[in-house]
Symmetry: C2
Subunit: 394 residues, 2 copies
């Protein structure tokens, strides 16, 4: 009598988690320094010192008020700080009423999709894509429509997206800087996307929302990350402090619904309603207040930049093909055979843990998370060499 | 094109939240000490000093490990501590595999209902009941079947529950100590419920789960709170530290699935799957670890006991009728007219904020939250006297 879908989701092996578990076991067997785990996206840069100071300061406040419920959308003072920061950084109007604090980007996306779609709708997902998008689209009762991005730039294929839009399309999820490929969508491509969507909205007579998944916004290597609500009114931003402040386990982020949306008030109410429906009461309050106290703390991107250099130079020299990442902390590397799972399995023989691209909806690649200690990258190079040679010998 | 159900849930005024907001406004108008706000269940007892010490200690640990993702079901070490505590306190087997850490009891219940029901199933709810149960039952695609509890004991009406069970019944939610009435279900009534459900399961050929909502377990005034998994194998415990440790805004709790359940492994997987489906990644990690460090810290019930005494003695003297609460921090008081909303509205004239029972699915009563400063109770007594007299004069 239990729910088959939920059982399936719980029972389904996640390639990323399986690889991570395998790595822990293998490290126990042969030593932690002999296994090169590039499987997960846990930030390797510590949370900022300012965050620690903020928590310690907060813990001196009266506990009943500090740990009490906030309104469902968050502490009004925190929402004010977040709104001010958006206004200041992106030059777009934002008030506390536009903000709904969430337990991270996952909650933000699950809530937003349930808020702006109806069962039976279609949601477009450019591929490769973060696998959980599919789960949350299904929770909203919608169908996932995958549209490949352009190889080798991995920019959006606006024409293909247009061709995929039907009268049932209610949203498209975009993620830039992108997990898993590290691409950052250019202003030019986002403007073309916006123009096309504006046209299709008129043609179809209904809204098409962009759900903008932005946990990697601060992790970039010099390029611009345009703020999508400035380009397209019907954008819902799903932000997280998981990567920018290295707090993935704390579950803190927000939804931003811009007033440029004609029905912003209704959409905000639907977001609040979806939060209720999915069992959220309020975002964890200590972390709400802590991030508000260090909202302008810059992310430490230098460690990731150095890792990117070490990894790309090393792999270049060995003759690997990859996508030069403009953001996030993932490298998308061409497998030496079409079967990415087989390539990932063979990499394990050389103690390299690489996530096969099948997890992201495409074949023939692996994802390398380079949010690791630099020694993991340098130590892995002999393994990468041997892996390549094992294919040459065939 | 937005989701009508979610819009409705966001737009729907919650009587409790409305009353609370009205109270804040009114306090600003006439002074905080002149308004007697009995609307919400925010603990008035501070979080234990041990919790603060735990957070301060944790903040000295290396930040990457401290704030990183835990497995979806929680930090294994935390789950071990929780399982050990269950085994020790209730004499029932419990291992980390039986525990799934959650963002509070709300997440635990929403997840559990989605895990063990299918769309079209029925979920029984003894009334009066916490209004969000209805929301989460609807999210799971199920129908809420209300069965009144027995007046004046507000114990479960086992015969009426039996009569309400159909071949579609997959779960019953019980909440003891109870919000809103303060009743604690006796061992005798729970044993009768268990026997009846065992019989009905055989008769119908499928499982019927008890989803046991337990945030008030530690807030009792001397009576036993039987541990339901010891009485009925197919029990899912949804626990929260919101009230016992005064951490409602932090969102920390767990689901416990006992191995006495024949399909415990499958149910645990379905719980994990439902967590994924609803957008949960892991329970907030700092609070996971903090509660593990002070798991045996006793709840400070004395303040609530004293409030209960002040309130019940005061109202008795004035001639109010109420249910003597054995647990939680709510008093269920008979309104002087059938229309609870009208009674609550009239109470406002005397600056008394009382939640009408309509919010809990029944008419003719109000709920008084006595998790307040004692001065609020003593200060409110002239208002309660005047409210009563206003009805006598009619």
């Amino acid at each position: 009598m239990i729910n088959e879908r939920m059982f399936g989701l719980g029972d389904e092996p996640s390639a990323i988690r399986e690889l991570f578990s395998y790595g822990l076991k293998r490290k126990a067997e042969i030593g932690a320094d002999k296994v090169f785990d590039f499987s997960i996206g846990n930030p390797s840069v510590p949370a900022p010192e300012a965050l620690k100071r903020a928590v310690l300061e907060l813990m001196e406040e009266p506990p009943c008020a500090l740990h009490g419920y906030t309104p469902a959308s968050g502490d009004p003072a925190v929402k004010q700080v977040v709104a001010d920061s958006i206004r200041r950084r992106f030059g777009i109007e934002a008030t506390p009423g536009n903000i709904y604090m969430t337990a991270g980007a996952a909650a933000a996306i699950a809530i937003s999709l349930s808020a702006v779609t109806k069962p039976g709708d279609e949601v477009i997902v450019p591929s490769p894509f973060f696998p959980e998008y599919g789960v949350w689209i299904e929770t909203a009762g919608c169908t996932r429509i995958e549209v490949p991005t352009l190889v080798p730039s991995f920019q959006l294929d606006v024409e293909a997206i247009e061709a995929a839009i039907t009268e049932r399309t209610s949203a498209i999820i975009i993620n830039s800087p992108n997990n898993p490929v590290g691409a950052v969508y250019t202003r030019e491509v986002l403007e073309r996307l916006a123009d096309m969507l504006e046209r299709k909205q008129v043609e179809l007579g209904h809204q098409i929302f962009i759900v903008c998944d932005e946990p990697y916004r601060e992790i970039t290597y010099g390029c611009e990350v345009p703020y999508v609500p400035c380009l397209y009114a019907n954008t819902i931003v799903c932000y997280s402090y998981s990567k920018s402040m290295s707090l993935p386990g704390e579950r803190i982020g927000y939804v931003y619904v811009s007033d440029r949306m004609t029905n912003a008030h209704e959409v905000s109410l639907a977001v609040a309603g979806a939060g209720r429906a999915l069992g959220y009461i309020c975002a964890p309050v200590l972390m709400q207040r802590a991030i508000a106290k260090c909202i302008d703390e810059p992310s430490n991107v230098e460690a990731y930049r150095e890792n990117r250099r070490l990894l790309t130079e090393g792999l270049s020299e060995l003759g690997y093909e990859y996508v030069q990442p403009d953001g996030a902390f993932y490298l998308w590397v061409k497998a030496f055979e079409d079967d990415a799972q087989a390539f990932s399995d063979r990499a394990k023989r050389f103690e390299l843990l690489l996530v096969p691209s099948d997890s992201f909806g495409v074949g023939g690649w692996v994802r390398i998370s380079y949010c690791v200690a630099p020694e993991v990258i340098t130590g892995a190079m002999p393994g990468f060499k041997a892996l390549m040679e094992s294919y040459r010998q065939e």
